[in-house]
């Protein structure tokens, strides 16, 4: 009973936060509410027995997406000559839904309510008991090389999806780079406390990432979670004013960005040559291969996320080399 009450509250809380985030008049507030929404989502994942997803959501969905959104908002405020510092500095001219008669808005709401009802009916009509592929996964878990079923699916059973996933991340960086960067902004002085905080937390983050990567084989965790924690450490360092040396922004950066994708491609070619089967690991070696893939993927994910943040927040562009180490 108590559980039902909690789940119902959480469900309504999610809907309410989403509504407020999407419709509050102030963009800063909207983003903060969205971050809170992400944290509640993480709670929902825990309730749904999906700790791996909860970790990914907390680190990426709420953490890094939130950082990206706030950084973009700050840039936007600076660009459109608004007061950046104020919490209520983003009165949006079109905060209120634009144009459209009462009739068309009513029609839209009617349509949307109908679609919720339709989807609810469809979901309700699904069989109330189904195991999906869990039996298949359990049956082959021993051959996968890892003990955590989610990691087994991500890196082995459906490792091909993850390979394309690494390409999507790389594409995001290429896409952002191809926009050519924004105007560089003068760097603001950073609070001493923030520097201390990041200096203290960075090793902790690295430790946590290594731990997540290592336990990912048998417990919740893995490359995506570890990579996003490491990426968050990068974001924190960037926030506290740290800038990588120009030399690092050249091919060491490119190597780090492509490490995960490259590892997948090489392994794909190798397995195709040796096993005649794309991405099929020999059972005895599977554990080690997955760990290797995950380690390289972690580096790539972390660097990708940090570079995306840098591009959105400070107008970093490809090969700009303008940000020196302080």
């Amino acid at each position: 009973m108590l559980q039902w009450a909690f789940d119902t509250m959480l469900g309504f809380g999610l809907l309410w936060l989403a509504w407020r985030a999407l419709n509050s008049s102030d963009l800063f507030k909207a983003i903060v509410l969205f971050i809170a929404f992400g944290l509640l989502m993480a709670l929902a994942w825990v309730r749904l027995n999906a700790p791996d997803v909860a970790l990914a959501e907390a680190a990426i969905g709420a953490g890094l997406t939130g950082a990206l959104l706030l950084a973009a908002l700050a840039r936007l405020g600076a660009m459109t000559d608004q007061n950046v510092s104020g919490a209520s500095a983003y009165p949006v001219p079109s905060a209120q839904p634009p144009a459209g008669s009462h009739f068309s808005r009513g029609l839209l709401i009617l349509l949307l309510s109908a679609s919720v009802a339709g989807m609810a009916y469809a979901i309700w009509s699904l069989p109330s008991y189904a195991t999906g592929l869990s039996m298949d996964v359990a049956a082959h878990l021993d051959d996968s090389g890892v003990g955590n079923p989610v990691t087994a699916v991500l890196l082995n059973f459906r490792g091909y999806d993850t390979m394309l996933e690494m390409m999507v991340l790389l594409l995001a960086v290429l896409g952002v780079w191809s926009l050519g960067g924004l105007q560089q902004q003068p760097e603001k002085p950073v609070a001493a406390v923030l520097e201390t905080l990041s200096r203290f937390l960075t090793p902790v983050f690295i430790l946590a990432a290594a731990y997540l990567l290592w336990v990912g084989a048998d417990a919740p965790g893995g490359a995506f979670q570890a990579g996003s924690v490491l990426g968050a450490a990068g974001v924190l360092l960037l926030l506290s004013g740290w800038r990588p040396r120009v030399r690092l922004m050249q091919w060491p950066l490119r190597l780090a960005l492509t490490a995960g994708a490259g590892a997948f491609i090489l392994l794909g070619l190798l397995t195709l040559l040796l096993e005649k089967q794309f991405l099929t690991y020999p059972v005895a070696q599977a554990g080690r291969m997955i760990l290797l893939l995950e380690s390289l993927a972690t580096v790539s994910i972390a660097v990708t996320l940090a570079i995306l943040f840098l591009s959105v927040s400070s107008g970093h562009k490809e090969k700009s080399g303008k940000g020196e180490k302080k």
């Binding site: 999610l14 979901i123 996933e165 995306l308």
Partner: protein
């Protein structure tokens, strides 16, 4: 009957709330938030329904799919934000221009 359906219903609610905001708001940042909320709704449905088999065994395949989806979402969000900033830099505002002046 488990809480699976409850969360799946919340997920479909989120999807539609996001869709509403995506259509109604002109500001690109809000549209990006709306897309993210819609994505969360889809993920919630995907994972919630995996719990129909009960408390102990859950289907890990949708979990892996959602982790994949979260990473796609953050990549797309980053690209969208960069595009929005570039658009704002050029046009002075972060709203979609009229279709095209011909």
């Amino acid at each position: 009957m488990t809480n699976a359906f409850l969360y799946a219903l919340a997920g479909s609610g989120l999807f539609v709330l996001g869709l509403h905001a995506l259509v109604m708001h002109a500001h690109v940042l809000r549209k990006i938030l709306a897309i993210n909320v819609m994505g969360s709704g889809v993920f919630l449905i995907l994972v919630a329904l995996a719990r129909r088999s009960g408390e102990t065994t859950t289907d890990p395949v949708p979990h892996a799919m959602v982790i994949t989806g979260i990473v796609v979402a953050v990549s797309a969000t980053a690209l969208a934000l960069a595009l929005m900033l570039k658009l704002a830099e050029k046009s002075g505002q972060a709203v979609l221009p009229d279709k095209h002046g011909d």
